[in-house]
């Protein structure tokens, strides 16, 4: 029984109460994934499971046996940043940096959803196959990621700049 975290197998916890978030932070010391509420209400714990963004605080680790997990550490490192990470630095898409890994993982998942044509609350026409990229679409789709420092403008700018590169 194990899950794959950033390409490496990780043993599932003995205690089924352990969340994926605590598994990452406390067992694996992958503390890039943040805990901001443990209530599913802030998005700081966002990670990618098989490419889909989820909240790791509401995920029991045992439930993810055999799944592929990507965390912020799997996207890029400080010396070798992922394009979207670079864009966050460039556009000052953060201040304290605590919500940031969640915002970035969420953005990666969001771009995939957009490409797949998943509609959102602000999508006008549900019959559209492809969803046009717009600031409004991105703002709505990123609304599950709170930023109390209020770096929202910079985050949207960073995503806007890197969307083409990431979408490839």
């Amino acid at each position: 029984m194990s899950i794959n975290v950033n390409g490496a197998p990780v043993a599932l916890p003995q205690d089924p109460r352990m969340s994926l978030l605590d598994l990452l932070r406390e067992q694996e010391h992958l503390s890039g994934t943040k805990k901001g509420c443990n209530q599913g209400a802030c998005g700081a714990c966002t990670i990618l499971v098989n490419g889909e963004r989820i909240l790791s605080c509401l995920a029991l680790a045992v439930q993810y046996d055999g799944q592929e997990i990507t965390t912020i550490e799997g996207l890029g490192s400080a010396d070798d940043l992922h394009p979207i990470q670079r864009a966050f630095v460039q556009h000052d898409g953060f201040q304290c940096g605590y919500c940031t890994p969640g915002q970035i993982c969420s953005a990666v998942g969001m771009i995939a959803e957009l490409q797949r044509g998943v509609p959102s609350h602000v999508t006008d026409d549900l019959s559209d196959e492809a969803i046009a990229f717009s600031q409004e679409e991105v703002r709505e789709r990123m609304s599950g990621n709170l930023c109390r420092c209020g770096a929202y403008n910079g985050i949207i700018d960073a995503i806007t700049e890197s969307v083409a590169e990431v979408a490839q």
Binding site: P16, R17, G43, I54, L55, A59, L60, S120
Partner: protein
Amino acid sequence: MTPFTYHRAATASEAAQHAGAAGKYLGGGTNLVDLMRETIERPASLIDVTGLDSAIAEQPDGGLLIGAAARNTAVAEHRLVRDRYPLLARAIVAGASAQIRNMATVGGNLLQRTRCLYFYDVDGARCNKRAPGEGCDAIGGLNRNHAILGASDACIATHPSDMCVALAALDAVVHVQGVDGARAIAFTDFHRLPEDRPDVETLLRPGELITGIALPPMAFARRSTYRKVRDRASYAFALVSVAAALDMEDGRIADVRLALGGVAHKPWRATRAEAALRGQPASAALFLDAARAELADARPLRDNGFKVELAQRTIVAVLTQLMEEA
């Protein structure tokens, strides 16, 4: 969290066998895990049902059968749902956040519990839903988010789901399976009003598993929508929401489906308004009369009186929009 055992079910009947009285089914966990952390839920065992049927299948009659394990996002993005039941897709994407919708299952969404502040406060508040007979601190307390319709002296909580409001409007049917076999429950009967047992929220029998949701064919649901009114522009529960489908023929309302969210202990099918609308020539005045009829029995509390006016206005606006699109 109280300790529990975890089991991943391979089939529905196996899941039902495992559940027993003290077990709970685990969908995406987005509500259950939170409630377990608050010790509001203390199951002895969890039976993971996310591996069960998640297919979204077209039925011979043109309806859809949605497996209970289908994720909310999967339902909202499904081509047939978007084309034939746009109000359902709209209701789903109006709820929670993208991350939560990616996790949440259809079965779990039906059974998510109220966001009543006092229900959540295990240590500090009395709640008949958590501890039957204890009393209800929401009555006489902070009740801006509470029910205006169908509440009781025992409980004034609302059901928080958006998706369920659309399902109530669509005459959906809930398929369930227990150790004694399978049965189907009309969606509008599935959730209960609180009466004197607010702890019993649905007609599910102990241990029964939701296996799927059937949407009957409803041609006119192609013209349908969902409107949600909330305190922030996204990622907030509904204060009031309206799901509606409108069938117009020569300026007359041939048929209509209308349901409200945020107003009652269950997704509220607006049968009175529907009756007032059916067969009548569509007009703003008619919409208002129908909305008023639906809210006639509303019993506002200290903080939520605005919902009466808000619900009426939102009903009128949604019907007007659908009429104009016709």
